[in-house]
Each structure stands twice: as structure tokens, then as C-alpha cells.
């Protein structure tokens, strides 16, 4: 009941904001509204009992997504100059498809139906066996890191590949060819150092954000959290530092070679756990053989691969941010 009331509010807001994003011509407005969109989404995830997902969406949506979009807007254009022609075909296509999907949803089980098919298949097994086989309180972490470890490995490599793509596209910076002085340009576009209050408060909060990231990393077995959220949080701390003190100092704090090494090292750590478990007589990513006690082996494996995930995600986010911030306008 409560869930339905909250969902009604949040989802209606979601649709209204989405329509507004679609209609606006100012891309800056669209980015701001998509910030609201992701906040509503995170609140909605929390209402729907998905604490881990809400934490991820919170960190990504509030901390990183807006910054990346604004960085891209600064390098491209602020206004959407799409001509208003030819909108009938897309409108008809999408509304027809939407009608079909809505028609199909009448067959779907209602929200929270315990007899729905999703709740009958493997989920009860995960919930039942996690305390016995893996013994970590957070079932999401157990499924993520152990039961579906292959899947997560794949995701880590997708993130890794995306990072390589961004580096390949934005990595090399050619010298500027216009006549605005480099120093003047840097001063205006690079940092907030002459704003006293943001500088003091921002720099003061960076250690707390990184500390909280580490807490989320190592508390992920017991509460909402894990490598993905922790990596994004640490990266958000570094991004905050780079915004306040300027990209140059940000790159002194976390050099680009270091963040790219972090990306590779994380993926390597994850894979090497799998190889180690193969060498010790198990299957790939079967952590039970890593220690004498299978449950301890699982704990060890989860700890190490979560660390790998955290390193990769933090490295990827920092590398992407640096790639955007270093790219002057030309």
C-alpha cells in the first residue's frame, strides 16, 4: 500500500520530467532535468527495496553523470537545434510500440505479487543457500561476486573496454590553435580556486568521501555497497578535488598513468582470482578451493574480486573525467 502511494508520486514525476527533457531545446536544462530524473529514479529504487541499486544510482547519477554531461556540453554546444520536421513518423512509431507494450503488460503480474514467475525460479535458492554456502548477510553481494561471478567479470571488462574507447577518442591532445592565452583560458575553465567557500568545504569533504568509499567497499558484505559503488564514490572524491583545485592539480593527485594502471590492475586481479582457483584444483572463479574451509574461501574470493571491481570502476571514472577535463575547446 505504502509502496504504491510512493510509487504513484515518484513515477508520475518521472514521466513529467522525462517529457520536459524531451521538449526542452536548451541542453543545459536537459542535463539538469536528467539530474532530477536520476534522483527520482534512485528514490524509487529505494522504495522498491533495492538498496544496493539505489546507492549505485545515487553515486553515479548525482556525482558523476552530471559532471560528465556538463564537461561534454562545454566541449560541444549548449543548444539543441533540431529542426521540427519529420516528427510524425517517430511519434507514430513510438506510440504504436508503446501501445503494444502497455497491452502486453496487462498479462504481467502486479507489483509485489509473491507468486510471480520471477520469484519462483532461482531467487529462492539464492536466498536460502547464501547463509549456508557463502555466509555473507548481503545476498546481492553474494550473487554478484560469487554465484554470478562470470557475469560480473563480463561487466568489468565492458567498463574496461569503454574506458579504452574514451582514451582512444580523447586521449591525445593537440596544441590549441586559437589565440586566447593559455593561462587565461586555464584560469577560467580549469578550477574554482578563487572561490574561497567551495574551495575550503570541497577540499575538506574529499577525505570523507574517499573514507566513505572505503567503508562502502569493505562493508559491502554486511550492508548495501560493494566494489561498484565504492569505486564510483572514490572517483567522485577525486572529481570533486579536480573541480575545486583544477584539472592540473587533480592529475597531480591521481596521475593519468596511475588511473589507467588501476583500471588494468583491477581487471587483472579479478581474472587472476579465477585463474588461482583453477590452479588450486577448482573451476574458474570457484572460490571454495582458495582456503581450507569452503566458506572462508568464498569470503576471501569475494573480498579480492570486490577490491578488483572497485579499482577498475574508480580508475575508469577518474580516467574518463580526466580525458574530458583535459580536452580544451578547439
Amino acid at each position: 500500500m505504502m509502496t504504491i502511494v510512493f510509487s504513484l508520486f515518484l513515477l508520475t514525476m518521472l514521466v513529467i520530467v522525462a517529457v520536459a527533457i524531451l521538449r526542452t531545446e536548451n541542453l543545459f536544462t536537459a542535463v539538469m532535468l536528467s539530474g532530477i530524473f536520476s534522483l527520482i529514479m534512485a528514490a524509487n529504487f529505494f522504495v522498491l527495496d533495492a538498496a544496493d541499486v539505489a546507492l549505485t544510482e545515487a553515486v553515479i547519477g548525482a556525482g558523476i553523470s552530471t559532471v560528465l554531461f556538463l564537461g561534454a556540453l562545454a566541449l560541444t554546444a549548449e543548444y539543441d537545434r533540431s529542426p521540427p520536421v519529420g516528427t510524425w513518423v517517430p511519434l507514430l512509431t513510438s506510440s504504436a510500440l508503446g501501445g503494444v507494450i502497455i497491452f502486453a503488460t496487462f498479462q504481467a503480474p502486479r507489483l509485489g505479487d509473491p507468486s510471480a514467475i520471477v520469484h519462483q525460479h532461482v531467487a529462492p535458492w539464492y536466498l536460502e543457500k547464501t547463509p549456508e554456502l557463502i555466509d555473507v548477510p548481503n545476498v546481492v553481494t553474494a550473487v554478484l561476486a560469487s554465484f554470478r561471478g562470470y557475469d560480473t567479470l563480463g561487466e568489468v571488462f565492458v567498463v574496461f573496454t569503454a574506458c579504452i574507447g574514451v582514451m582512444a577518442l580523447l586521449g591525445r591532445v593537440r596544441p590549441r590553435r586559437d589565440s586566447i592565452k593559455e593561462g587565461e583560458f586555464k584560469k577560467a575553465t580549469d578550477n574554482l580556486r578563487h572561490h574561497l567557500i567551495p574551495r575550503v568545504v570541497g577540499k575538506m569533504l574529499v577525505p570523507f568521501i574517499v573514507l566513505f568509499g572505503l567503508y562502502v567497499q569493505f562493508h559491502g558484505d554486511f550492508g548495501p555497497g560493494g566494489g561498484f559503488q565504492a569505486g564510483a564514490l572514490v572517483a567522485a572524491g577525486v572529481i570533486l578535488y579536480s573541480l575545486v583545485e583544477g584539472g592540473v592539480r587533480g592529475r597531480e593527485l591521481v596521475p593519468e598513468w596511475f588511473s589507467s594502471v588501476l583500471v588494468a590492475l583491477g581487471a587483472f586481479t579479478y581474472t587472476s582470482v579465477g585463474v588461482a582457483s583453477m590452479l588450486m584444483g577448482g573451476r574458474f572463479l570457484d572460490y571454495s578451493v582458495l582456503a581450507h574451509d569452503p566458506v572462508h574461501g568464498q569470503h576471501l574470493g569475494i573480498l579480492v574480486i570486490e577490491a578488483g571491481v572497485g579499482m577498475t570502476v574508480a580508475g575508469v571514472m577518474i580516467t574518463i573525467f580526466h580525458a574530458f577535463s583535459r580536452r580544451g575547446i578547439r
Partner: protein, 158 residues
């Protein structure tokens, strides 16, 4: 004792909710940007503090009040900083604070911000499009500027 705590925290929570709501109302109804920001930033700290203290009383002797205190501390630091940064960004791009002139009629600042005339602006279309997406209430007589959004809410909620 338990009942007393409950009543106290209920009072704190409800007054916090009231403050938060008033802040939201102020953000919707105030005539121009800086006054709206005033409404938002005051209640962001005040209402949030009341609600978080109300919850703290319910936490008991665990880690929970500590976490709430941390949330309060960080909100207390970040919210005014964000307000400062926002006001600074607005001033930088030329949004003027509104002042009532002697006749007490006009709010000049409620016009949407125009780029400064002396800037060698490259994009001419920008000026025209500045407030294109949603028609601002600026064209209306300055008396009840927030009328239009109010109507809009009523329509959306129904």
C-alpha cells in the same frame, strides 16, 4: 519515558515536515531567483535538521544516531556551499537581484537573464532561445508572477 521520546520526535518530525513544505512552497511562489534560493537554502538546513533530530531520538543507543548526525553535519556543510556556488554562477552569468523601485511596482530582476550587451556574443540565436523551453511568466504583468506555475501543478496533479 518512551512515550515522551515518541511525542518529542513526532513534534520534531512534523515541524520539520512543515518547514520543508514551506520551503518548497517558497521556491514555487517567490518572485525571482535569489528570493527562491533564500527559501530553499534556509529550509534545506532548518527543516532537514528538525527531521534528522526527530529521527535521532528514535534511533536508540546504536550506530544510527551517529549516522544521522553525520548526515546532518554533511548537509550543514554542503547545502550552504552549494547555495553559494549557485548564487555565484547566477551572478557570473548576469542574473540581477530584483529590487522594488520607488513606485513599488516593478520587479526588474524577474525578467529572464539576458546576456550582457557588451559581450561579443557569437551566437545570435542564443538570445532568442534563452527561455524557450517553458514559457516563463515574465511576459505577464509583474503583480502575480508565480500564478502560472500554480495552475500548471493543479493540472498535472489532477
Amino acid at each position: 519515558m518512551h512515550l515522551l521520546l515518541d511525542i518529542l520526535s513526532a513534534m520534531l518530525l512534523l515541524s520539520g515536515a512543515f518547514f520543508v513544505f514551506v520551503g518548497g512552497f517558497g521556491v514555487m511562489r517567490m518572485p525571482e531567483f535569489y528570493t527562491r534560493m533564500h527559501a530553499a537554502s534556509l529550509t534545506d538546513t532548518g527543516g532537514a535538521a528538525l527531521i534528522l533530530f526527530g529521527l535521532m531520538l528514535q534511533g536508540g543507543f546504536t550506530l544510527i544516531p551517529l549516522k544521522l548526525a553525520a548526515i546532518f553535519l554533511f548537509l550543514f556543510l554542503t547545502s550552504p556551499t552549494a547555495s553559494y556556488a549557485l548564487a555565484n554562477a547566477a551572478l557570473l552569468s548576469g542574473v540581477k537581484p530584483a529590487c522594488r523601485n520607488e513606485t513599488g511596482k516593478a520587479f526588474p530582476g524577474e525578467q529572464p537573464a539576458k546576456p550582457k550587451p557588451k559581450r561579443k556574443s557569437a551566437s545570435k540565436a542564443v538570445k532568442a532561445r534563452k527561455s524557450a523551453p517553458v514559457k516563463p511568466p515574465a511576459g505577464k504583468p509583474a503583480k502575480r508572477p508565480a500564478k502560472k506555475p500554480t495552475k500548471k501543478t493543479a493540472r498535472k496533479k489532477s
